[in-house]
């Protein structure tokens, strides 16, 4: 949902955009019900524009100068689902599921341009282990020119692996080349980070297991300067690796509560998971 003045924009699980007049705040009056091509997951308002993360349908931009009569200006489909949007000036940053972070310039909202992308799998040196990408870009927020991307870890193994609720931080000062400057929070939130937002220079995250404020005064972390070339790495054999062996003790099993999260989580991301 998002508000603009005395108007409220809301998405529904049956793929509609509802517009409410909230000039009488306690008695919202529905003025519009508009069918959308995908499942609307998140909204952002920028001036007289409404930006919709419309899952498989990508990014929709509406002119809401007259909120009771939204006008679709453009649809941008980065070939993957879009699950969240964050606006910084003339840039909109998308959490684009398998597509990672996508940067779109909407200086001309009728013809937005995808100007940059950072796919999360290209950063994982162990991506070769998996037949599919585990970390999906689920949510995004911006703070001081860094886009923080929270991931939904789609690992179906028990226990989860490969990062859990990871956070990637990309410096998008050069929008065409988002640069990784932070990678972390691994395990702080198990399974998935479903919402990241910055308010007043502070950074908050919520996911499947807990709510967290992150101290963002030092957003860039120190990272590995050296990763040995393939020839110097141990064989990639997950079945025999010490990593796998350590997963086997019962103490490492995912607690049952983790499974209970899956129903509402999948409802929200249903379209993305289809």
């Amino acid at each position: 949902m998002a508000t603009s003045g005395t108007w409220l924009f809301a998405g529904t699980v049956d793929d509609r955009l509802l517009v409410y007049d909230i000039s009488q705040p306690t008695t919202p009056s529905q003025k519009v019900s508009l069918n959308l091509p995908g499942l609307p997951i998140e909204f952002a308002v920028s001036g007289n524009l409404l930006l919709v993360a419309d899952s498989t349908a990508g990014l929709l931009i509406y002119n809401v100068t007259t909120p009771a009569a939204p006008v679709l200006l453009s649809q941008t489909t980065p070939s993957t689902s879009v699950t969240d949007v964050a606006v910084d000036g003339n840039l909109v940053l998308l959490a684009a599921w398998d597509g990672g972070l996508v940067v779109v310039d909407f200086t001309n909202p009728a013809a937005p341009q995808m100007v940059g992308q950072a796919k999360l799998d290209t950063i994982d040196p162990y991506a070769a282990y998996q037949s599919f990408l585990l970390n999906k870009a689920a949510t995004v927020t911006v703070l001081n020119k860094i886009a923080f991307v929270g991931v939904y870890n789609a690992d179906t193994n028990d226990p989860p692996e490969n990062g859990n609720g990871m956070i990637y931080g990309f410096d998008y000062s050069e929008p065409s080349e988002p640069r990784l400057v932070y990678l972390g929070a691994n395990g702080v939130i198990a399974d998935a980070i479903l919402t990241m937002r910055s308010f007043g220079g502070r950074l908050f995250a919520g996911g499947t297991s807990t709510l967290i404020e992150f101290d963002s005064s030092q957003p860039r972390n120190v990272v590995n300067l050296f990763f040995p070339p393939n020839a110097l790495r141990p064989p990639l054999n997950p079945a025999r690796s010490p990593r796998t062996a350590r997963r086997s003790p019962a103490g490492l099993r995912q607690p049952a509560i983790g499974k209970k999260f899956r129903l509402p989580m999948r409802r929200k991301y249903d379209a993305a998971l289809r």
């Binding site: 949902m1 998002a2 508000t3 005395t6 409220l8 809301a10 998405g11 909230i22 705040p25 306690t26 919202p28 950063i123 994982d124 040196p125 162990y126 989860p160 692996e161 990062g163 859990n164 956070i167 990678l183 972390g184 691994n186 395990g187 702080v188 198990a190 919402t195 937002r197 308010f199 007043g200 502070r202 908050f204 919520g206 499947t208 297991s209 807990t210 709510l211 967290i212 992150f214 101290d215 030092q218 957003p219 972390n221 120190v222 990272v223 590995n224 300067l225 050296f226 990763f227 790495r233 690796s241 010490p242 990593r243 607690p255 983790g258 209970k260 999260f261 509402p264 409802r267 929200k268």
Partner: protein
């Protein structure tokens, strides 16, 4: 000793350690290091996180401003620890464990004084948690339940909070 950050400069007056992370989730694997400033042994502070997506670190050694780590599948890793960095977590709610249900949160909204989380748990139901943001981390100040109408979206307008539940819009 280690670089421009004075906390690491003198081994005589400041001690530093790079400790294998104690993961707050007992079911999660550790893939990172944490640097802890123990110059005040009675009040150690987490100073940095180091992460390269590789694997748990077994042994580490300091060499100047570099930390060398053996990382199982990852082989040898070299980190620059001359500058602190990384998002450091402050929990608003304790993470879940096998015995304690966690709080799955789907949306947030905030004004100048309060932060709200929409939560939805298929077992315990949904609702909104409210926090006072004058503290770090924010402290709980209230909540209300929407029962099994799970909350998945929030929006604020003046003094009104709009709650998007699965079956209704609530003010």
């Amino acid at each position: 000793m280690l670089g421009p950050d004075s906390r690491y400069r003198s081994p005589e007056t400041h001690l530093e350690s790079a400790a294998k992370a104690e993961n707050p989730c007992d079911h999660c694997l550790s893939h990172w290091l944490q640097v802890v400033d123990i110059s005040n042994p009675q009040q150690p502070t987490l100073d940095a996180t180091l992460f390269d997506y590789v694997d748990s670190q077994y042994t580490v050694a300091l060499a100047g401003s570099y930390l060398l780590s053996t990382e199982a599948d990852g082989g040898l890793a070299v980190y620059d620890v001359s500058k602190k960095g990384g998002l450091l977590p402050n929990y608003l709610e304790a993470p879940s464990s096998g015995a304690t249900p966690g709080i799955p949160a789907f949306a947030q909204a905030a004004n100048a004084t309060n932060l709200y989380f929409a939560v939805a748990n298929a077992v315990t139901g949904g609702g909104v948690l409210a926090y006072d943001t004058s503290t770090t981390p924010p402290t709980p100040v209230g909540n209300f339940s929407t029962g099994f109408s799970l909350c998945q979206a929030l929006a604020l307008s003046s003094n009104y909070l709009y709650v998007g539940a699965v079956d209704s819009l609530r003010v």
